[in-house]
């Protein structure tokens, strides 16, 4: 027991003496949280839409008034008058404008005659996000203009009333769970993977192996130290990230206990996984080469950035065995929904089982000799 604690003591003294690991493990997740959270969270604003009016009638004026209303209110787009449809189309192609609306000749007459009036919208669909936003905005304008002036006594259209359980979740808040898990992963990757192999290469382990320390004491010492480092990284990012994203849940004692349980489970799972992968590795280049691959393979399929439901089946299969998935689901359940232990019980079960399971496999593989 004392020997195991000596290993933990050595690792923790080194960790606190040199804060580089802590800073490095939080740098990427925090930058990601700030940049991606702000970049992906907003709506399209100030898109340039060319308007080619061949009609100039009262209904065309009504359309243009609706456009002006959008420009001064939600500001999704502003309009620029064009005289020529071909010029407008060319400018959409070259990116001078983001879309073009064509109001054809006889548009007003067709509206009054109820003769299938049509407006044309030219979009650059190579940018799905921009074209989708403009299409959506235009569709809602057209729907509004299609409403009859006098409402019929029997409503033909069925409306869907949406009840949102939680306040609007900004993308930064959505992303925070992934950032916490990522900080812990990086801490384990650097502290448990790279430094472990570097110590092996430097001969530090040789020093341990000539002492009477048992294999189990050595394995447990290294893993407990790695788990403590990951827990510290997880707690730090939970607090800093929650304050940055404006989440007050960290001030609720019960939520803090639940978050700590999740952080502990995640750190054990990540550490066990990393130890299993590194237990027979001797070359310091290997964990460095694996870093990016593992990050992509485990972080992105976990639902941290994009919902798992949108993935193809093979990607969903990775998500099922990926500890990131359960960590992120659990963090979201507490940080965004305050769901309590009921909401995270299966996540905790998976994380602890996964962590202990991988350690049980790795321990016999650990060599007590060089």
């Amino acid at each position: 027991m004392n020997r195991m604690l000596a290993i933990v003591e050595r690792e923790m003294r080194k960790f606190f003496r040199s804060p580089v690991l802590m800073i490095m493990s939080m740098m990427l997740p925090l930058v990601q949280l700030v940049i991606l959270g702000n970049a992906f969270g907003g709506k399209i604003r100030g898109a340039r839409v060319a308007v080619v009016d061949y009609d100039h009638g009262p209904q065309a004026v009504k359309v243009r008034e609706a456009f002006d209303s959008v420009a001064v209110n939600i500001a999704t787009f502003t309009t620029i008058d064009y005289q020529n449809e071909n010029q407008a189309r060319d400018d959409v192609r070259t990116g001078k404008v983001d879309a073009a609306v064509i109001i054809p000749a006889q548009y007003s007459r067709r509206v009054y005659a109820q003769d299938a009036p049509r407006l044309g919208l030219v979009v650059d669909n190579s940018d799905q996000f921009m074209s989708g936003s403009i299409e959506g905005e235009m569709q809602s304008l057209v729907d509004a203009m299609n409403q009859p002036v006098i409402q019929p006594r029997i409503v033909n259209n069925i409306a869907l009333d949406i009840v949102e359980l939680y306040p609007f979740v900004e993308y930064m808040k959505y992303l925070l769970s992934g950032s916490i898990a990522l900080a812990m992963y990086i801490s384990v990757m650097i502290g448990g993977g790279m430094l472990y192999i570097d110590d092996k290469a430097r001969g530090v382990h040789e020093g341990y192996l000539v002492t009477p320390i048992s294999k189990l004491e050595l394995v447990m010492g290294l893993n407990i130290a790695g788990a403590i480092k990951a827990v510290l990284a997880g707690i730090s990012l939970t607090v800093i990230g929650s304050l940055m994203a404006g989440l007050g849940v960290i001030f609720h004692p019960m939520a803090l206990v639940q978050l700590f349980a999740l952080i502990l489970g995640t750190s054990i799972a990540f550490n066990g996984m990393m130890f299993l992968m590194m237990v027979r590795v001797d070359d310091p280049l290997v964990p460095r080469a694996m870093f990016g691959v593992l990050n992509t393979l485990l972080f992105f399929p976990s639902g941290a950035i994009y919902p798992i439901a949108a993935f193809p089946p093979w990607l969903r299969a990775i998500a099922v065995v990926d500890p990131f998935t359960y960590a992120i689901h659990g963090f979201k359940a507490i940080l965004l929904k305050d769901g309590g232990f009921v909401a995270i019980q299966y996540d905790l079960l998976f994380l602890f089982t996964f962590g202990i399971g991988t350690l049980l496999i790795a321990t016999p593989l650990f060599k007590r000799t060089l």
Partner: protein, 347 residues
């Protein structure tokens, strides 16, 4: 193994049961490659025993088998009476090991480094403090107790490694090339310190080295290892005496001539002539001064010029050449690089 070395071994082998270290026909194989080929020797209590050989001779493999770091393929090694394969934990409890590389944690202080190792050896808390103070005093690092290891010089770090290996008061101490990378002054300081430790702590030490001077000055007995085999064993004096001739005359002529070897061989007292590169000959003789006089006269009579001449006592280098057929220092130089000749330079 040679007759002189065989007798040296057999003299000790009888006492193998009481020896601090007894290695019997030990073999280490990596696939088809045999790194250690049936080596046997015994180390007495309180002795400093040296394993001398070039890089890749198998010294580190031997020390790693004796310190339980790598399994023995065949044969047997007893350390403190315990079999390294069967009672590895008992062996680990009684040995201190200084690896070749400096592995103390640079971010920790001198005391923290020692304290962690004392805990790894389960030294009780009360003894820990006392032991740390004692070993720091022994290696002259007491005033650096609270200093971060990264602030120490190379020599001081090596002394810290030695202190770390002693913090649990071991009976047997293994040092794998303890002075590699140190400047001459630090090297001498380490030798003096190890000699002092041997006397004050009654330590048995096994040292690997490729420095002949180190083996000569530090070790009570030396085993010369080459290509995984033990080629000679004895005290430094015994080994030097085993080489024919008590002096070595090193001579260089301004002109290379294939007949020099034969001419030198005929001089009085000469037992062996070794031809080296660039017209240099090493002449082993029982009478250095007489051979030198004859050599100068011979050169004058042939109207040849000597460009270099030196007379010295037989060294371990000569012993190594005698038993292996090549020079230890050449092995080391070749291992680093081969310098191409300067354009236009005389051969």
């Amino acid at each position: 193994m040679t007759a002189v070395s065989a007798s040296a071994l057999s003299g000790k082998a009888g006492a193998a049961a009481s020896a601090a270290i007894a290695v019997e026909n030990i073999v280490k194989r990596y696939g088809d490659f045999e790194a250690v080929k049936g080596v046997s020797f015994a180390v007495e209590e309180g002795e400093i025993f040296g394993l001398l050989g070039p890089n890749g001779a198998g010294k580190s493999t031997l020390i790693r088998m004796m310190t339980t770091l790598i399994p023995v393929t065949s044969g047997r090694a007893l350390v403190g009476g315990y079999d390294v394969m069967k009672d590895s934990d008992a062996v680990r409890r009684m040995i201190g090991v200084i690896p070749q590389a400096l592995t103390s944690d640079q971010d920790l202080t001198v005391e923290e480094n020692l304290s962690i190792y004392a805990k790894l050896y389960s030294v009780p808390r009360a003894e820990r403090e006392r032991n740390i103070t004692e070993v720091l005093e022994a290696v002259d690092l007491l005033k650096w107790r609270g200093a971060q290891t990264k602030t120490l010089s190379g020599g001081m770090r090596r002394r810290l490694e030695i202190a770390r290996g002693l913090v649990h008061d071991p009976r047997i101490f293994f040092l794998d090339e303890p002075t590699t990378g140190l400047d001459p002054v630090s090297r001498i300081a380490v030798w003096e310190m190890l000699n002092h430790l041997k006397k004050t702590r009654n330590l048995t030490m096994l040292v690997t080295t490729h420095y002949m001077e180190e083996a000569d000055r530090l070790c009570d007995r030396i085993a010369i290892v080459d290509h995984g085999t033990l080629v000679a064993l004895g005290t430094p004096v015994e080994l030097k005496q085993s080489v024919p001739g008590s002096n070595v005359v090193e001579v260089q002529f301004n002109r290379e001539d294939s007949e020099w070897q034969g001419r030198l061989q005929k001089l009085t007292g000469v037992t062996e002539v070794q031809s080296q590169s660039a017209g240099v000959y090493r002449v082993l003789t029982s009478n250095g001064s007489q051979t030198t006089t004859q050599l100068v006269e011979l050169a004058a009579s042939l109207n040849e010029q000597l460009t270099a001449l030196s007379v010295q006592n037989t060294s371990l280098d000569d012993v190594f050449v005698h038993y292996t057929g090549r020079q230890l220092r050449d092995e080391q130089v070749k291992a680093v690089f081969t310098m191409p000749p300067r354009p236009g330079a005389q051969p």
